[in-house]
Symmetry: C2
Subunit: 144 residues, 2 copies
DNA sequence: CGATAATCGGACAAACTCATCTGAAATCAG
DNA sequence: CTGATTTCAGATGAGTTTGTCCGATTATCG
């Protein structure tokens, strides 16, 4: 029942926000994250593989291994994660599904959708995950 | 590669806009619509069944049968079609995928997403398909 | 009436996303 | 070194959405 972002992307966002709540450089296992956030263990493994390949996470194998953020939390914005997982199509596709819709021959919702999405993506590009993590802690908000 | 609305919903929107370009009460076949809009014939049949059950279309079997709008085009808004096909979940689900997100315990994107979607849905609820059809004709815009 | 052409509705197939399984490689503790 | 634990990577399975098929029903027209 996910909307707008894929399930994978939702899980990635939630997990990276979770990592941002940790001390910088602290290592965390998939096991811990999947149980805390209620995300399927093996599926999260796949997602973290992708995020590692994209350069957002670092990892270490072995008994005391795990994952940690490749950059300080304040330098990672939500949009980075979305682009890493879902790509950039979401920013350009026609909301009514017309294949030929573009700025030169816009569909009837083109301009309103353009404004809507640009504003929203702009705020996703401003939100760094350190602030997000603090906000969640402050409210005592607990992820699914 | 559809976003926001399901494929079915996109097809429904495009098809009903197509019907709105016809004279009021004029009957049109699935065959014509599917070939003009490049929508799979049998799939569109299913979608139109659903739209008929929901009361947005009327239909007639037989040699000169087909479908027509159940109401004048100016009385049907885009949101009616979206709700008929995709339902109302899209209006309430958390954009980051947190199960426990709501106005009482909002996620970090909750309020921005709320504003974004409410504005967009409001404009979808204002747009009647007669205006949309005219706009498409005026621009010479041709659906996929 | 009989042929044709359209929707109706249920079953089925294909494609895509979500999720799991398994074995290998790396790291660490004893 | 050996056993335990973790990520890595490819294969496989499950579920959902998308798309197809077919027989039945209904209306039109010659």
């Amino acid at each position: 029942m996910s909307i707008f972002f894929s399930r994978q992307c939702e899980y990635a966002l939630q997990s990276i926000i979770y990592l941002a709540q940790k001390k910088q450089g602290e290592m965390t296992t998939i096991k811990e994250i999947s149980s805390h956030l209620n995300i399927p263990f093996h599926f999260l493994g796949k997602i973290f593989q992708k995020l590692s390949h994209k350069g957002l996470l670092h990892s270490m194998k072995g008994v005391s291994g795990g994952f940690w953020l490749a950059k300080p939390a304040e330098e990672i914005v939500l949009m980075d994660i979305i682009i890493a997982i879902d790509g950039t199509d979401i920013m350009s596709l026609c909301v009514l599904g017309y294949a030929e819709c573009n700025s030169a021959s816009p569909c009837p919702m083109h301009n309103e959708w353009k404004t809507t999405k640009e504003n929203f993506f702009a705020s996703l590009s401003k939100k760094n995950i350190l602030d997000v993590a603090k906000e969640i802690k402050k409210d005592g908000y607990r992820a699914a």
